[in-house]
Symmetry: C2
Subunit: 193 residues, 2 copies
């Protein structure tokens, strides 16, 4: 058991270095603008190691999307759990994304970005991104149902509105490089719940 863990860890070190570098470069520069050679150089690993773990560059992109999906959900779940009031949990979504976009220097949503770059050329990329957005919708829906909002809108409508405004405000943040729209959206939703 122990040696298996060590082997796995050993292998994971390289995979993690690759994925860490790919994540950083794919998001900051774009997938198409990032070459395999840059990834292996900045990850400080051998080219053969990369192609041992990922058959093609597209496989690396898919793995990047999957890992980003997992990490995104963990973070947002934690952020929401730190808030007690069920209505405030909804508003915490906006605060969380303000923080994230500041850290990400207003590069926008990594999934939309990946979709815009490679969603049309590879069906696996689109499918993976659809999973992330469906996950987001489902998560928001649950929060809305438990929020006890004032039913100015139906549960479904409010959930849709929050999902849509988050998407739109993050897109706007990537254009204007500021969290203005995320903050506006939060205030508006606050009025409606």
């Amino acid at each position: 058991m122990a040696y298996l863990c060590v082997m796995k860890q050993r292998g994971q070190v390289v995979v993690d270095k690759i994925l860490d570098t790919a994540e950083r470069l794919f998001y900051a520069q774009g997938y198409s603008n990032t070459g395999i050679n840059q990834v292996i150089e900045e990850a400080d690993i051998a080219k053969a190691s990369l192609y041992k773990h990922f058959d093609t560059k597209t496989d690396l992109l898919v793995a990047y999307i999957q890992r980003t999906h997992e990490r995104w959900f963990n973070r947002i779940e934690n952020a929401v759990n730190e808030v007690a009031d069920p209505k405030d949990k909804l508003l915490a979504l906006f605060d969380h994304h303000v923080e994230r976009q500041e850290i990400r220097q207003f590069g926008g949503c990594p999934f939309i970005k990946a979709n815009d770059e490679a969603g049309t050329s590879d069906p696996r990329v689109l499918a993976e991104i659809q999973l992330t957005k469906q996950h987001s919708k489902d998560f928001i829906k649950t929060l809305v149902v438990n929020s006890g909002h004032k039913k100015l809108l139906t549960d479904q409508e409010l959930a849709e509105l929050i999902f849509i405004t988050l998407e739109g405000a993050i897109a706007a943040a990537s254009v204007f490089k500021q969290p203005t729209e995320l903050q506006s959206a939060k205030q508006i939703i606050q009025k409606l719940i």
Copy 2:
């Protein structure tokens, strides 16, 4: 005067063929996935002609964004003008984008797409895209001010909300390849005006 027009027309023929092809390919395949050679081949013009009118590929991208901006505004202005009721003008924005996204096969917003591909690498691209989104915000604001809505939200808030929901719903359309979110957003806005 006449010969000037003919000369201009003559030149415009080539430029238009280039821009028509670039528009189609940049949107459907992405800017990075489209080579100059494919543009000149499908536009059926010579490579030297392209580089006579556009110094670099980036210049072609900027010109594509500018022309798309102009055409976008003309279309949306016409769509809104065909509606009499000032509140319905706001809703017409959503109907128009449903139509557009169907025509575009749910590829999302061309400006966000261009921003995701080249916004970080070239400041001119970002600047041009900021102009388009500011234009959109201003246009919506005017419609809101003249709409006579019921002031559940302030003018500014409603304008922001419509702008943000349009952006978000178009992004969602590019992921799920259907106009669901655009239609939901329309219904929700209808409840609020």
